[in-house]
Amino acid sequence: MTAPRTLPGTEFSGDAAISAARTKEDIVVGDRLVRFRWRTRALHWLVALTFVLTLFTGLPIWTPIFGWMAYLFGGLQVVRWLHPWFGVVFSFFILIQFIDWVGEMGMTQADRQFIQLGNFLKYMRWELDEEGVGKYNGGQKLLFWLSALAALGLLLTGIVIWFPNLFGEGLREASWLIHDITFILFTLLIMGHIYLGIVEPGTFTAMIEGTVSRDWARLNHPAWYREVTGAERGGREEDRRTR
């Protein structure tokens, strides 16, 4: 009897690519590319979960149109108590994620071109030439920086709102306004992020299993694909047609 084949040093007998994605990323395993290791995915989902909890406890305080959300948590009084604590936990996780990701989020020339409005609209029509797009495109990097900025703004204004005794009247007034405007813009941004994360088959899987197909990588992040696989530039259209 022979033992089941596993990756060296693991007892995991399932999918080899998923197994590798526990600790490694940016490698090829069989016909899959490992995009996000476990740590990255766990952080992302902790940030996502705490974002949603903080949003859903904040919305009923923002306007009674979302009052029904309060009942998911036990009523408006409970929500008012929970919201700042959820906010603190969210701030903590997004800080850790920021530290984890910040090294990869520097804007290149290609990224700066990507986020020009005309180019971004072209991207949304799936018409942009993305030959230079690496592991993260300009939009993803912009989202990263804007999220960090928004989270910082929400935390600082949130502290003023939470402990009003410590701050002056003018600061308290400004904080409520900035807190509301920031969260609205942040929420719109995240709505777009969620849409782009699920609209393309394979993208959501990348955040669940950590792996993507070669076709997905070649289509969405060609420069990263070439870097990971060592493939030559060009031959891109050929690949797509024969897929």
């Binding site: 408006l76 029509r125 799936w126 007034e173 609205i184 609209v199 394979g202 289509l219």
Partner: protein, 294 residues
Amino acid sequence: MPIQGLEILQSSASLRGQPSALRRTPWVSKYIDTSTCIGCKACEVACQEWNDLPSVPTQQTGTYQTLPSLHAQYWNLIRFDETEVNGNFALLLRKEQCMHCGDPGCLRACPAPGAIVQYSNGIVDVNPEQCIGCRLCETGCPFDVPRFSEQTGKMSKCTLCVDRTTLGLEPACVKACPTGCLHYGTKEDMLALGEHRVAQLKANGFANAGVYDPKGVGGTNVVTVLKYADKPELYGLPANPTVPLTVRIDKKPVRWIGLVAMAATVVGLVGHYLRYGPRTGGRPKSPPPPERQS
């Protein structure tokens, strides 16, 4: 629980109140003549007694004043402001309390449905059962009146003795006042009383006497006669109180623009999916012909 005998004109975080419009209720007001107040504090005691508020330890601030400012368990405070007016010494007494604004900033700012209500007779009241203790009302109030109670986690303030006035009684402080500087009645009558007193004061040499009923907050249902109405700051009153601009922006335009933007984003993304779908949805992404316009 709001008082049942009165209809609700406005309710916090609600689209509208429930006035049946079957009857017209005159707006009621408290009249305060600061020129005849002797600082006896009978109104303070009456307020504590009637509203069953526990005593608050007094604080010596160098004047006769009981406390530095209002307190969650002290809704009625006589201010003693020693100052100089036109080169002469002046001891200014004023009854500090909720002004019961016609356009209450606290109610506008409050995010909890029904926590702050304005009755059809103009009285602004707090409903502790609905209050969530977020303290946003403090930000909305231009008079710095609402006080947060650490014990209950709720806001509290003067109710204009709505439980007495509904039954036709005057507020407890008015009942207790020994000099007649406090009166209670319809707003119209109290304004007339104020104008009468102002004429007397002017005849007595107080050329700047006047009635404090600021229009910026829709008038107040506490009508105050001031000897120096040109300088209400001397009494600790803002000259032109308004609901803070940030609160007004936050509660109307920001809220509606935000809601429309969120709805538009959902519609836009669904539309995008229908029009463009996933990029691997079948259309090959070959470079477009050179002259083709998309």
